[in-house]
């Protein structure tokens, strides 16, 4: 049925954390709230943790089933397959967004004369090798690379220790509660809700009892790290610039006296973004493989990656369009994928669990047979 490869809870924890930090090292999700973004981040963190916890519960209720299998189980074959295809699209789109962020950042800061397609394309080649090596290798890789991120972040933070202005946090709630709530909503959808891709990975965990704990700890720690980075940025560049600049951590790091740590940021981005794209691509390829009933997901990774690269370049004309789209549309575009469908599935799973087991075995049996075919 499933691939036999398994990952340990610590690997899953690091993958989740890397996935989280992947984009937040570059963009502050709730920066729209200006100097009050930390409030938004706390609120969003709480909501996001809850959301991720519900994904974990969903996976626990359907043990050793991936998202595609759960969808087909609960919603029937036709509806399940259609929704699965939509999820494949979403995962690819997510990967392409990370690709684009990555490319935009590098091409506006360091590689001014390099075409973006070169940077993204070469990155995709490396990731192709990574994803095709399997989920086990991805887990091990996260053990080697993710710990680099906090180290790099603390190097930058400590270098900036002398130029902090702790009063930058005041005044609190200058513009009322609305921007904060908006920011919190953005935070829930931007890093937390995207972990819906992990529903394709959870079945690989070798100890199911640790799933909820792992997910919650990872969400909380990532939130704390995000807060730390935000406060650092706020104290260094002030509330005004926070609301207006694009790559906030990059801007902050440029202020380190007599030293330039740009490459550290690049490497953070490479690790976090790499994990994020790898997980998305793996999820998409795995979903396609289960929909079509092919044995090995590796046949799809090349196609998925190519599509993601092309999408990353063609979908948005400029970085401004990208950001406008992410701020205005993205939040609503992802609600069905991140909230509605998973919660619906959770509800259905809970109902089935409450029911007596009478009619279930038959259905189960059918689905098992299907899964074997897949």
């Amino acid at each position: 049925m499933m691939e036999k490869t398994q990952i340990s809870w610590i690997q899953l924890f690091l993958l989740l954390s890397g996935f989280h930090i992947g984009s937040t090292v570059l963009l502050s999700p709730s920066a729209g709230a200006g100097r009050d973004a930390w409030l938004a981040m706390i609120l969003g963190g709480a909501g996001g943790t809850l959301l991720m916890w519900s994904y974990a519960v969903l996976s626990m209720l359907n043990p050793s089933k991936t998202l595609v299998e759960i969808l087909r189980d609960r919603l029937g074959k036709i509806a399940g397959t259609i929704l699965s295809f939509l999820y494949v699209w979403y995962f690819i789109h997510l990967a392409s967004l990370v690709f684009r962020d990555f490319g935009e950042f590098l091409c506006t800061t360091t590689y001014l004369e390099t075409p973006m397609v070169v940077v993204i394309g070469l990155f995709a080649v490396v990731l192709l090798y990574t994803v095709n090596s399997g989920i086990e290798v991805l887990g091990r890789l996260s053990e080697l690379l993710v710990p680099v991120i906090p180290v790099a972040i603390s190097i930058i933070s400590f270098s900036l220790f002398t130029i902090n202005d702790f009063t930058a946090v005041l005044p609190i709630l200058e513009n009322g509660l609305m921007p904060v709530l908006k920011g919190a909503f953005g935070a829930i959808t931007f890093p937390y809700g995207e972990t819906v891709a992990f529903l394709m990975l959870f079945p690989h965990l070798n100890r199911k009892d640790k799933l909820k704990k792992t997910v919650v700890i990872s969400a909380v720690l990532s939130t704390l790290l995000g807060l730390l980075v935000f406060f650092r940025d706020l104290f260094v560049i002030g509330g005004d610039l926070i609301g207006r600049s694009t790559f906030i951590p990059h801007l902050t790091s440029l202020l380190i006296p007599e030293f330039n740590v740009e490459p550290l940021l690049d490497i953070n981005l490479l690790i976090g973004g790499g994990i994020k794209i790898s997980v998305c691509v793996y999820a998409a390829a795995k979903a396609l493989c289960q929909i079509t009933g092919v044995q090995d997901y590796r046949g799809f990774t090349r196609a998925v990656l190519t599509f993601a690269v092309v999408l990353a370049i063609w979908a948005y004309d400029s970085v401004l369009e990208l950001f406008a789209w992410t701020q205005k549309v993205y939040g609503f575009y992802v609600i069905p994928f991140q909230v509605l469908i998973p919660l619906l599935l959770l509800l259905l799973s809970l109902i089935r669990k409450g029911k007596p087991q009478g009619e279930v075995p038959d259905k189960e049996g059918n689905n098992n047979a299907e899964a074997v075919n897949a």
């Binding site: 690997q11 590689y111 070469l122 990574t130 090596s133 290798v137 091990r140 890789l141 690049d266 790499g274």
Partner: protein, 524 residues
């Protein structure tokens, strides 16, 4: 693609099978003259083959043939322990028939302890060519093989390739039995098992699997046995050949089979639950499974204070990273990331670059290739010349290339540091040499990002690898917290209570916890 190459190399050796099995020479003829004739035919044109006929007993009725290879057996021993007793005891006997003479020889005449029977001509010839004396008795279809092998090869001495400050000076030699004895000397335990087998259809090299029963994982021992049996080749001249056959990733740059010349190191590995493979004729003994972390371990670490050992480990990690990455980092910084370099250094850098006609990449390539040439020349040259040449060559080349404006000062420093660092982690010397070029090329194309891309690919490759079923990057990935005590940080030996867990030994605990504290107050 690689799979195809691998399959080819597997099937390529099949036709050697026929040549090999021509060695069946049939049974031993009862008549001494027939034996003589057939031996002379088998060993025709072998000037070192000696066949002596003893005729003793009344009227020379008892005829015994002694066959051996000159220079291979200890003649003294042969004369004292075999020939003289025969002449003494059988001088005046009537001939009672071949079979009874054979029994008397084995029971009460031959002094030597190491005797066994050869049932046919093939076994007898095997005995002769492996350095034993073989006795053929007229009227008997069995031959008696007497082990009187003379000690061959050089004395046990300190290995040149692996030197250490603390620890034993004894290194392995070419003779297999000497090597196994050296290990037995250190591990006095009947559970130290030595399984002998013969590899190479023509060379018939003795190969020995060594492990401690009850410690080593049975599955790994079984796997080693099976992989060795699968080797189909006609010549095994060195353990390096075995290494290439049994490696997990045959095309990987990184070693998945360890080799050592040091007895104490090998004893340590065996006691961790690893399996060793001795090969006759090679002083390098292989150990499996071999993990990445072992390349930064040295025997001194365990004999020294844990703090120094930890410091040395960290130094080795730094050296490994430096020797692989430094030239690439330099090129990346100079070509792409000037802003990262502190301003004053940038000025010096610009000054030293002035008048150099090449790009930093070409410059780095030239210097590194020049260094590699010198290194290789130093290895190949006769020892006394080699060292002088490489030192003089390095100074002259370094000084002169700067003076002539071919390379900048800083580049010479970079390459020199790289070169020094590359010798600190010997097992990865070759891997880091090739990776250095890869990183250099990547750095020239994409700067730090290129280096990071290649680094990720290398990490993926490392995480993918296994050595005899054990993940290569353990204990880092997968994380085995218990084994981190002997990775970057070395805990004192009395606190190293368990063996590396990742090898899944049968018995994991080394010693009792109580042994770490024994304070005795003499004054009371």
């Amino acid at each position: 693609m690689f799979g195809r190459i691998r399959n080819k190399s597997k099937s390529g050796r099949n036709n050697s099978e026929e040549i090999v099995q021509t060695g069946s020479y049939g049974p031993i003829p009862p008549s001494a003259d027939a034996v003589k004739a057939s031996l002379n035919e088998i060993f025709s044109n072998c000037c070192d083959f000696i066949l002596r006929e003893i005729a003793c007993g009344k009227n020379g009725a008892i005829r015994i043939l002694v066959a051996y290879i000159d220079g291979f057996v200890s003649k003294n021993e042969l004369n004292q322990d075999v020939v003289r007793p025969i002449l003494d005891f059988l001088a005046n006997e009537e001939s009672p028939g071949g079979s009874s003479i054979y029994n008397r020889l084995t029971d009460c005449i031959v002094v030597n302890n190491d005797i066994h029977e050869a049932a046919d001509m093939h076994q007898a010839v095997d005995g002769i060519i492996s350095g034993e004396a073989v006795l053929f008795i007229d009227g008997e279809t069995r031959a008696l093989v007497v082990g009187v092998k003379a000690p061959q090869g050089r004395q046990v001495q300190e290995p040149d390739t692996e030197t250490s400050i603390r620890g034993a000076r004894e290194g392995f030699v070419e003779n297999l039995l000497t090597n196994t004895a050296l290990i037995r000397k250190r591990i006095k335990n009947p559970n130290l098992k030595l399984e002998m087998m013969h590899l190479g259809d023509r060379t018939k090299t003795n190969v020995c699997i060594c492990y401690i029963k009850g410690l080593a994982n049975e599955a790994i021992v079984r796997e080693v046995r099976e992989r060795l049996k699968k080797i189909k080749t006609d010549a095994v001249l060195d353990s390096g050949i075995i290494e290439q056959y049994i490696s997990d990733n045959r095309l990987s740059l990184f070693p998945t089979v360890g080799s050592s010349e040091k007895c104490d190191k090998l004893a340590g590995k065996l006691l961790e639950g690893r399996v060793a493979i001795f090969c006759d004729g090679s002083p390098h003994v292989l150990t499996v499974p071999y993990l990445f972390v072992e390349s930064i371990q040295a025997t001194d670490d365990y004999f020294d204070h844990a703090f120094f050992a930890t410091f040395m480990r960290l130094l080795r990690v730094i050296a490994l990273t430096t020797s692989t990455l430094l030239p690439a980092m330099y090129v990346a910084l100079v070509v792409y990331h000037h802003t990262v370099i502190p301003f004053k250094l940038l000025l010096t850098l610009a000054a030293s670059q002035q008048g150099i006609p090449f790009s930093p990449f070409v410059e780095a390539m030239l210097m590194i290739v020049a260094f590699e040439l010198l290194r290789e020349a130093g290895v190949r040259m006769p020892k006394p010349i080699g060292q002088a040449l490489s030192i003089v060559g390095a100074i002259v080349l370094g000084e002169a290339s700067v003076a002539a404006g071919i390379a900048s000062n800083l580049m010479v420093i970079v390459v020199a540091i790289t070169a020094v660092c590359s010798f600190i982690v010997p097992p990865l010397l070759r891997a880091s040499m090739l990776l250095r070029f890869m990183f250099l090329i990547a750095a020239n194309f994409l700067g730090i990002l290129g280096i990071a891309f290649v680094a990720v690919a290398v990490f993926v490759h490392l995480c993918k690898m296994r050595s005899f079923g054990v993940p290569y990057m353990a204990p880092f990935a997968p994380l085995t917290v218990n084994d981190l005590k002997d990775a970057f940080i070395v805990v004192p030996i009395w606190a190293m209570i368990t063996r590396p867990k990742i090898l899944r030994q049968q018995e994991n605990v080394r010693g009792a916890k109580g042994s770490q504290r024994q304070e005795v107050n003499i004054q009371q």
